[in-house]
């Protein structure tokens, strides 16, 4: 259905969901670390996590895909 994207550049600090898991709209799914802050990234729509596209520790850029939801 869609991808959860990084709202800003940073490092993936924690991935909070697993593939196959159900997520709600507005749920925190990833926490980035950027500018010394923990940045929660939320799912913009409800669905099932199809795949995780970023590993903890990865450097990511703004708009990079983090999680695919279907």
């Amino acid at each position: 259905m869609g991808f959860v994207k990084a709202s800003m550049a940073g490092t993936v600090w924690k991935v909070l969901v697993n593939a196959g898991e159900e997520v709600k709209e507005g749920q925190d799914v990833v926490i980035l670390e950027s500018m010394k802050m923990e940045i929660p990234i939320v799912a913009e729509e409800a669905g099932i996590v199809k795949q995780i596209l970023a590993a903890e520790g990865d450097f990511i850029n703004v708009d990079d895909d983090l999680i695919e939801i279907e």
């Binding site: 709202s7 800003m8 550049a9 950027s34 500018m35 010394k36 802050m37 923990e38 940045i39 929660p40 850029n61 703004v62």
Partner: protein, 508 residues
Amino acid sequence: MEQNKHQLFVESALKGGHKKYHEKNASQGKLFVRERLNLLFDEGLQAEDGLFANILAGDLPADGVVTGIGKINGRTVCVMANDSTVKAGSWGSRTVEKIIRIQETAEKLGAPLLYLVDSAGARITDQLEMFPGRRGAGRIFYNQIKLSGRVPQICLLFGPSAAGGAYIPAFCDIVVMVEGNASMYLGSPRMAEMVIGEKVDLETMGGAKMHCSTSGCGDVLAKTEQEAIEYARKYLAYFPDNFKQKPAIAEPKIPAAFEKTLQEIIPENQNVSFNMYDLINRIIDEDSFCEVKKLFAAEIITGLARINGQSVGIIANQPRVKGGVLFADSADKAAKFISLCDAFHIPLLFLADVPGFMIGSQVEKMGIIRHGAKMIYAMSEATVPKITVIVRKAYGAGLYAMAGPAFEPDVCIALTGAQIAVMGPEAAVNAVYANKIAELPPDEQGAFIVEKRNEFREDIDIYRLASELIIDEVIEANDLRAVLEKRFEVYKSKEVKFADRKHGVSPV
């Protein structure tokens, strides 16, 4: 006979365009222009001008625009409202003249002016009469700019505002767009395909959602026309009729009740996010928040609210979104909001929890320094009462942009856990001791870093800053509402002039 002619003219002018256009509008959830005005005003239009404009043409009732004066919550307000059942609300020479005249009326009366826009733009066949001249369409924008900061100007966008017409919303204080129907664009998708070969649909090109969340040209996204009109009526209550007056005081209310106190919701760890709306709702009069640009640059929150009945403009960092870091768009959003409040004597409340401005090549290319400068400029120039609260942290230029001590806030208050510094402890230790840390044996590095971070924290201890008179007051979070009530009350009589000059050179 004459009486019949008069009645026929009145009836035809009042009923708008052909039935099929009324039906088409209704199928899109669009109300007829006169129904919109009935919803907007307490008791409909009190005075209408130019009802007979272009009446002899036969098919151009009121020349496609209704102009007049009505009352909103008892206050006199001027309005221009396109009638999209008449040639798609397009502008002929009399349409333009009517709009110009109601602008002149708003100036003379010192009354707010609302633009209810639903227009396909210029009638190209009439261009010589309505486009280039002294009282052509350009004068509408000139007048808007002249009225800017004199009276509130509000745009409700119910349909398209195309090409030149797209500048009406651009020069208003605030633009409310109805989702699915409202759009703004300079060139239509058809024109884009012809001229630059781009294939794009109208929603993507200039739809309400896009403008309210991405471009920032729209301020408020409404689901229906009724919702848009309701917002305008609510918004106006925070403003005076014109810049010579002050906003009216509403009936004071206590903040909404919550299970958890402010102290309990603010995390001690500076790096952990929390939801700034939870703080705002605990310090403002219940149900008094009227947010502006909610969907755009959500890392900063801007909105009107009431504290003890008094109208205030809130600028707050939102740690939940992008860590509350300032970006080009957030600075731009704050700059316009600050300037809006200052123009109409609405005191400002800055709630700072900001790690600084974003860094990196991407934001530098976007001109983050230039956009940040706009915010700092607007905030400095603002002469209304300014209260700054350091909620948790204010690092680097973030402290400056959020009305830090150097920028003449009437008071800079810190909550007990607040930190003010050039940067956070982790970054600072790294910046100062990077070489030293690298020289140390690996097993000693950790302890060294912890020691230096603790030294840094002691150095920026909030009581040390208060002792040095950098901070004017340190308070417990739970006392914030009471302190703000008293402070805004005592600053009511503030009157200052920023600088004597023609005008500054704003870094736009």
